[in-house]
Amino acid sequence: MSHANHHSHDEVGHIVPESLFLKVLIALLVLTVVTVLAAQVDLGKWNIVGALLIATVKASLVIYFFMHGKYENRIIWTYILIPFVLLAIMIGGVFTDDPFRSRPQPVQVTQQS
């Protein structure tokens, strides 16, 4: 119907060989070990950067291979990326605020009337 599908025939989707999945799984497990080991070294704030970086690599592997992202069209990629962009906007926007305002003080709990 729509232009995106004019060329397609009844066979749909890309068949990914199972051996590729196995390689990806091994890579994911290795990365898990790496992230656990990296956390044992105290790198200050770089710990969280490193951990999130490794997690993002792992997530990309899952999306790209396990979820067939590699074989999807631009429309689907748009909707894969939108939530991550929004998450970045949300955290970025909130952090234009928090680091620049006074820190919370303990609240004196009083009787609610």
Partner: protein, 544 residues
Amino acid sequence: MAAHSASTTAGHEELNYLNWKTGLWSWLSSTDHKRICFLYLYAIMIFFVLGGIAALIMRTELATAGPTIPSIVKDSHTYNVFFTMHGVFMIFLFVVPGIPATLGNFLIPLMIGAKDVAFPRLNLFSWYLYVLGALIGAIAMMNPVDTGWTFYAPYSTTTDTNVSLMVFAAFVLGFSSILTGLNFIVTIHQLRAPGLTWMRLPVFIWASYATAIIQTVATPVVGMTLLLVIAERVFGAGIFDPTKGGDPVLMEHLFWFYSHPVVYIMVLPAFGVVGEIIPVFSRKPLFGYQMVVLSSIAIAAVGFIVWAHHMFVAGISDFSAKFFSIVTFLVAVPTAIKVFNWVSTMYKGSISFKTPMLYAMGFVFLFMVAGTTGIYLAMLGVDVYYHDTYFVVAHFHYTIQGGAVIGLIAALHMWFPKMSGKMYSETVSKTAFAVLFIGFNLTFIPQFILGMDGMPRRYYDYPVQYQTLHTLSTIGAFMNGFGYMLALLNLAWTAKFGKVKAPRNPYNSKGLEWQTASPPPHENFDTVPVVTEDPYNYGVPRHA
């Protein structure tokens, strides 16, 4: 109700979506997008009426300083309940599903030449989710919520009213909205008729597409935020409650991350409606079609990065306030572009003043007021003064009532012949328009002045110097309510008892939805239409 009557004369006419099956269950189990439009229409109108009654009770109470109607609004708590009810009903149960779930459902498949939406059963499921959410909300009203529709912590986490149930209702309604949006995105991507390229889509489809994206990706944010409010109330999760180390301002951030884009869910489809009406009644192509489309997308996109302009005095950092003020102005430009293009469309047209056109022109005026008063609120220094005053109340109602609701009423008049197969009385509908238009302005112009005088919102009682303006506003509110009643009863009466049959294309429109019968058959088109030209190909080329 209205629509069933068509079946009585079915013997003489062709089967259409209204009469091809009869009985209540055939409606409640129907996956036909046109019937689901009516299911939504009935449901949201109930809450429009309830929310409207709450508004009139509030306005009556505010007509004089001090208690005005102590028999109904017996104390400030009752008043707080009424404004919460008004907000929750109008926003979550009426305006958000307003145009997208009714007209969107009816028009999207018709305008793109499809038989139905991509997931018809999911569409019906969304409606049942809506009903479920509405019921939960009704149960929550047993111990009515007094937080305002914003559910700000820590008031919402400490008040002993039924907040948990009410926000859960909002969560369920949110999922109804998400699934509707998702359905429309897929429909527009996958089901367009042959030849209907993206740049041949009617602007209503573009607006609905932008709306659907916001519905799908913004609503989960508020859903989760509201679940966290429940977690805070029930378990004391310590995320929003300052006595447990939480941050109430974080709640405001997360809330407005959805609730600013949500005003575009409300108003973008109305932009689309006006963009459809003006070319038809001016017999001209839509001026600057590409810019109108682009501005819809731009508004939807920019809408996601401006939320903290609701929080300039909420205790956010000055840096944050400055940043969000500047980006907020980015919304003003595409909105202005739309208005310029609508007005230019009328240039050298052949303008007929049918009711939808009157509404569209009224919309342009109301939206100019809404837009320009929005500028005040985007300006940091001025917003500090206006924040949480009646100026904001008036501005908001100009955008949402003057924008979204007038848009919905305009659309109902525009596509009524297609939906019901009948023609309504122009005299009555024009009178109704005049009454509600004057009433609307009489309600809210005094509120702008009240805001200038510093009158804060959500006040049960006020110093006596504000009384005259409040009284005027109350008179306007009743006029406004009467106008809506007249307009809607006119349509309902016509649908049920109207005698004048609507032709296939009463406005001689180029739109795909007008090329099928009125009302359309169950599967919309007898043959799959093929699109060969632009959506607004009016006028004579050699004159260009």
